[in-house]
């Protein structure tokens, strides 16, 4: 398709990496080489071999199995946190764009207020208040996504509502809900998809950071961030234990960011206008 051609190399590489991440996460539900949490002290800190592709950690757990199962948590956090951001963000942004006036101002000021706190810091605050765990981490990351999506939705929806076809729909007697569903959403979808992809990458990074700090995934749940924090204790004996999960995080984030950039090029309405 011409869209892929326009996105070019970054779209292909990004899509490949993101698809690999998804498939690994899906694979973890049916198969991992070993149970990821199975402790095997006699074989601790084993070098990579045919039996243990990436070796074992300080408790003898199979690193490959943990990496595969850790993808599941990353995807889960990314999907749900971005989902929360999209549902509330799009709703708030549309309300702001359609109602204007005081409603728009107060929604946007509330978004600015949430923006004023660094996202990771407020996530740390939330998880340390309501207890560590994946669910609270997801809620905290999702809450930080809401104002970003809300601002984007309002800005793009306003530009659609300023077009004559939106006025024509109003002149035809259509209500705000029908205009939002038939005109606004289809026309702002490309921008939302691009932003959601990038927020997905940020969510994976945030989950890793929270788990590294012990506020995200709890043992025995495998997570890339937790693997990093475990590896810290034996960093001088087995640096590879930090490198593997670090590389997994970096590749996933890189892939999603490339995908977002590629989609931006492929879906940009300014490039496809009147073609």
């Amino acid at each position: 398709m011409s869209g892929f051609a326009r996105g070019g190399f970054s779209l292909w590489l990004g899509a490949t990496l993101a698809a690999a991440l998804l498939m690994i996460a899906a694979l973890s539900f049916v198969w991992t080489p070993y149970p990821p949490a199975a402790i095997d002290i006699p074989h601790k800190l084993a070098q990579p071999s045919l039996a243990h592709w990436f070796g074992t950690d300080s408790l003898g757990r199979d690193v490959a199995s943990q990496l595969i199962a850790g993808a599941r948590v990353s995807i889960l956090v990314g999907v749900v946190a971005v989902g929360i951001g999209l549902v509330f963000g799009v709703a708030l942004g549309l309300v702001a764009a359609f109602r204007k006036g005081v409603v728009e101002d107060s929604i946007m000021k509330a978004c600015d207020f949430v923006f004023a706190f660094p996202a990771l810091l407020s996530a740390i605050m939330l998880t340390s208040t309501f207890g560590p765990g994946v669910v609270n981490a997801i809620v905290a990351i999702g809450a930080a996504n809401v104002p970003i999506i809300a601002k984007l939705t309002r800005a793009t929806a306003n530009s659609v509502l300023a077009r004559e076809y939106a006025l024509a729909a109003r002149a035809a007697g259509r209500g705000p809900l029908a205009i939002a569903a038939d005109h606004v959403l289809p026309n702002i979808l490309p921008a939302l998809i691009v932003q959601a992809t990038i927020q997905f990458a940020i969510a994976i990074l945030a989950e890793a950071a929270l788990s590294y700090l012990g506020l995200g995934a709890q043992p025995p749940q495998p997570s890339w961030g937790r693997m990093l924090s475990d590896a810290q204790n034996v960093l001088y004996n087995a640096p590879r234990l930090a490198i593997y999960p670090g590389a997994a995080i970096a590749l996933s984030v890189l892939g999603l960011n490339l995908l977002g950039d590629g989609l931006r090029d492929a879906l940009d309405p300014r490039l496809r206008a009147r073609s």
Partner: protein, 322 residues
């Protein structure tokens, strides 16, 4: 033809707030409409001409209740649009439709022609799918497109065809009044004539009355029995199009007529037009600073619309040219 007007516009006033010149300063206001009244009768299309910034498009939006005036009334078939409930107004919209200037901006690029043309029907929300399809086909054929065009997207059409799609959308509810805001100025000249002929056919056959808004007097003269000239949010002259075209009474109408190229006379040199400076005093005639005939009285008192030369013609000028 009944005696009650189809559309009645009474003393519309609308001012827009401009950005503050400095923090905490009050918003300056710019008057878009400064007391506009006229009536449109069924079967007799009405034209409004004026330069950019004269308030024509604001008038179009308010006449269709897409924007609310600061004061004044709009009545369609005797019912005041701004007193209706939201639901009643939505039902009323089936009787009044709109055609825009830009056939590229007024059609959603992500919708098929069928959905675009059927949009006013969807708003009424009672047609079945088969009925909708039949009405869309009927409407497309009425504007000279094929029923099979319903499956296409707007970008597959030329500008003139797109404007036909927009006209088909405006006609699908069989409205009584269609407001056309510069409907042909974005089209090539040869296509302009086709679109205008289409509109006058529709006026005869489908019983549509147009409120046609244009900067081009020739376009209005093609379709409209009555014409009003607007300047700075006010009607300066109103009367039968033929009379107004032949012998304009207001100097601004004269300027508009002279700006229209015609084959049957050599181009008259229009009075030199400077970019209009603000009125000398708020009390004076708004056109006086640009008027070649301005007298001291014009700068002191604003003239009201008064009867000139019979035939129901009225002009807002102390020294009408006829």
């Amino acid at each position: 033809m009944s005696d009650a007007p189809l559309l009645e516009v009474v003393d519309l006033v609308k001012a827009y707030r401009l950005p503050r010149p400095r923090p905490f300063a009050p918003h300056p206001l710019r008057a878009a409409l400064a007391g506009v009244s006229f009536s449109v009768f069924a079967g007799r299309s009405f034209g409004i001409v004026g330069e950019s910034g004269s308030g024509k498009s604001t008038l179009a939006r308010i006449a269709l209740a897409l924007d609310s005036p600061d004061s004044g009334l709009v009545r369609l078939e005797g019912r005041s649009l701004f007193d209706l409930s939201r639901g009643e107004l939505r039902a009323m919209r089936a009787h009044m439709q709109l055609i825009f200037q830009d056939p590229y901006g007024s059609l959603d690029p992500r919708m098929r022609v069928e959905a675009i043309v059927a949009e006013p029907l969807a708003a009424l929300g009672r047609a079945s799918r088969a009925e909708r399809r039949a009405r869309v086909a009927e409407s497309l054929e009425a504007v000279g497109l094929r029923a099979s065009d319903a499956a296409k997207y707007p970008h597959e059409f030329s500008g003139g065809q797109r404007q036909r799609v927009a006209i088909a959308r405006a006609l699908i509810t069989r409205p009584k009044l269609v407001v056309a805001d510069e409907p042909v100025s974005a089209l090539d000249v040869s296509v302009q004539a086709q679109a205008l002929n289409l509109m006058s056919d529709l006026e005869r056959e489908a019983g549509v009355t147009f409120l046609l808004i244009s900067h081009d007097l020739a376009v209005v003269a093609h379709l409209c029995e009555t014409t009003a000239g607007m300047f700075r949010g006010k009607i300066v002259e109103i009367g039968p199009t033929a009379a107004l075209f032949a012998a304009p009474a207001h100097p601004y109408a004269r300027e508009l007529v002279d700006a229209t190229p015609r084959l049957d006379r050599a181009p008259r040199s229009a009075p030199p037009t400077k970019p209009a400076p603000p009125p000398a005093s708020a009390a004076g005639c708004p056109y006086a600073p640009r008027c070649a005939w301005a007298a001291p009285r014009c700068l002191k008192e604003a003239p009201a619309l008064t009867e000139v030369a019979g035939q129901g013609r009225r002009a807002a000028c102390w020294f009408p040219l006829v």
